[in-house]
């Protein structure tokens, strides 16, 4: 396996996704800190976009409210200046390509490096554009680009993704938008097994449809870790969310 940021731990990694600037503009770092304290192994912080086509209603809603709260990449990087004084687990940014393009891809990578972000997940940045135009810039700034794999992704393409990756591979539990429940039936078991047996160079982390202890356990039976998004974002809509974060993480890891 390639060297990666999870050298200290390779099993049952729990990652939590949430949208920056939601529920309030200034909640971004507080939530990160609380998640680390509660036992999350790494984080994905979403930067909002007006047209998030890969997302279901929960994350669409948090993105819309975050934008209304005034969140954008400039504000986010300003907030993240205190990230590394408060949070030590790996942090990835996740969002759509257009805001990155307007911020400037090079500026974006530089800002990520300056605030100590480990990598980014940009679902609508195609592999060939990444390779052709942006890989050098990402590498210069030490920023990992995370690729997605779905049940429909061909073996050949997965091998190529494995070659281009250097943190982890984001395995989608099914071909779906975010926020649907994972049903581990025969076909998804076969898919997870197929991936596991490929003995890839990068850790596999399963996302989309993971919402609780049960689905987390199912996913991590086949992969190094799993990502919870919509279920956590739902929690953030509650007024007492801050006190509930510990409990949420504990339940999943139990």
């Amino acid at each position: 396996m390639k060297e990666n940021i999870f050298q200290h731990k390779q099993q049952k990694l729990l990652s939590i996704y949430y949208t920056a600037g939601y529920p309030t503009l200034d909640s971004t770092i507080d939530i990160a800190e609380e998640l680390e304290k509660s036992g999350a192994d790494f984080l994905e912080i979403g930067f909002p976009y007006s047209d998030p086509v890969a997302d279901g209603p929960v994350i669409q809603n948090s993105s819309e409210l975050a934008l209304q709260n005034g969140m954008n990449l400039k504000v986010l990087f300003e907030q993240l200046k205190t990230l590394r004084s408060r949070v030590s687990i790996p942090v990835f940014l996740m969002g759509y390509f257009n805001p990155v393009l307007q911020y400037g891809v090079e500026n974006f990578c530089r800002s990520c490096q300056e605030v100590g972000v480990n990598g980014v997940i940009i679902p609508d940045l195609p592999m060939y554009e990444y390779e052709d135009l942006y890989e050098t810039i990402f590498k210069q700034h030490g920023i990992s680009n995370i690729f997605l794999v779905t049940p429909q992704t061909s073996t050949e393409r997965i091998r190529k993704i494995d070659k281009l990756s250097n943190s982890f591979i984001y395995l989608l539990s099914s071909n779906a938008t975010t926020g649907k429940n994972l049903e581990v039936g025969e076909s998804s078991t076969a898919y997870f097994k197929r991936l596991k047996e490929m003995e890839l160079e990068n850790p596999l982390v399963i996302g989309f449809g993971i919402s609780n202890a049960e689905t987390f356990a199912k996913a991590t039976a086949y992969a190094h870790g799993a990502i919870i998004g919509s279920a956590f974002v739902k929690l953030l809509s509650r007024p007492d969310y801050h006190n509930e974060i510990k409990n949420f993480v504990k339940k999943i890891k139990s």
Binding site: E64, N98, P99, D124, Q152, A176
Partner: protein
């Protein structure tokens, strides 16, 4: 290979590409690798042209509008896409795509629609072929376009309200893309304009290119030449313009004019004048010119014409604009409404408000008297009667 057509990587100059999440990759890749081969099959061509002739009613006439010509001092021809079955050029594309979907073995069709014209054209071809049809339409548009919603339902389509964002065309497109992500195997997405990831802009332009193919033949009969001086068409996403320009792109002496919707005015904050205000960006799977905020959030467009109410333009248009091959102008609501009424009074043709934008630009052109001008009359005004009535108080 024309420098204005798509290249092997799916780009028009710097615009185009396929900026899609991995979940859409298999669907889009399947289309990319097969669309040309399927479209070139003899059986495809035969069925396509037979349906265009007997079902759509093509060729659509190229009509010399004499009184309009007198008024402006040029010879003006109208390409009568308004006479097509379902009332607009949209059906050229949906006929083509349903045949493509059949050959790809797809069982379920999805589409987005704004005013409902593309939704109706899609529901129509699904009824024709007996395929399941789901049309995404903004909640706001459903409320203001009741007759088209009824048409789609009569033809057996399921109309699903898009309730996210501004609840209009852009959001309907997002919902259709989400549906496609969730139904990766049996579903074909019939995009209604020359937008979306490669190969859609090229695919749709090819199906719409019948407009300029016919126009050239008809022009020879009427003027002795295949090349007019000017070709005009309105642009929202840009499908009728793409079809109207297609076979004239390499005739550099033909001036191509694309007319966008200025809404209440380019600087009013309520506009859809994309090239005037937009910047390079990515929306709905392709890189193009896009109305957006400084930090890359898409701005809601506005136009009285629902068909032009889109914050971007197709990547080929972005390239025609940037390369200078096309002139991109804009027309306000008021100018368009007046032009629609003028055509009605002079020629007895009520145009769609979209097409009225192209007509309105005639007011801003100067002619010496010898010019031949072709305008794409992309749709008929029946769907807009409510708007015309409200505006003029009939």
């Amino acid at each position: 290979m024309s420098k204005y057509q798509v290249d092997k990587k799916g780009y028009y100059g710097p615009f185009g590409g396929a900026y899609i999440p991995e979940m859409l990759y298999p669907n889009v890749e399947e289309l990319q690798s097969r669309y040309l081969e399927i479209m070139q099959e003899e059986s495809f061509q035969q069925e396509f042209h037979a349906l265009l002739k007997d079902y759509v009613g093509r060729p659509s006439p190229l009509y010399h509008a004499k009184r309009l010509s007198e008024r402006y001092g040029a010879t003006i021809f109208l390409k009568r896409e308004d006479l097509n079955h379902t009332g607009a050029h949209k059906i050229n594309n949906t006929i083509g795509q349903i045949l493509l979907a059949e050959r790809l073995g797809k069982k379920r069709i999805i589409a987005e629609t704004g005013a409902g014209q593309h939704g109706v054209a899609t529901a129509t071809v699904c009824a024709l072929k007996g395929l399941e049809c789901v049309v995404y339409m903004g909640e706001v548009d459903i409320a203001r376009q009741a007759p088209n919603v009824a048409r789609m339902k009569m033809m057996g389509a399921k109309v699903v309200a898009a309730t996210s964002g501004s609840k209009t065309l852009k959001d309907a497109t997002n919902e259709a893309l989400r549906d496609w992500i969730n139904n990766p195997v049996d579903t074909h997405y019939i995009i209604g304009s020359v937008v979306g990831p490669h190969p859609y802009p090229d695919l749709v332009a090819r199906f719409q290119s019948i407009i300029s193919e016919e126009t050239k033949k008809q022009l020879v009969e009427k003027t002795g030449s295949t090349t007019p001086d000017y070709v005009l068409a309105c642009v929202g996403g840009g499908s009728n313009a793409a079809g109207m320009f297609y076979h004239f792109l390499d005739d550099e002496q033909v001036k191509l004019i694309a007319v966008e919707a200025a809404g209440h005015g380019v600087d009013s904050g309520e506009t859809a004048a994309t090239t005037a205000l937009g910047k390079d960006g990515v929306l709905h799977g392709s890189r193009s010119i896009l109305m957006q905020t400084e930090d890359g959030q898409v701005i809601e467009p506005y136009s009285i014409s629902a068909g032009l109410d889109y914050p971007g333009i197709g990547p080929q248009h972005a390239w025609l604009f940037k390369s200078g091959r096309g002139q991109y102008v804009s027309i306000t609501d008021d100018e368009a409404m007046q032009a629609g009424l003028l055509l009605t009074k002079l020629e007895g043709i009520i145009p769609a408000i979209e097409s009225s934008h192209a007509l309105a630009h005639l007011e801003k052109m100067t002619f010496t008297g010898d010019e031949n001008v072709v305008i794409c009359l992309s749709g008929r005004g029946d769907k807009d009667l409510d708007n015309y009535m409200k505006y003029f108080g009939f």
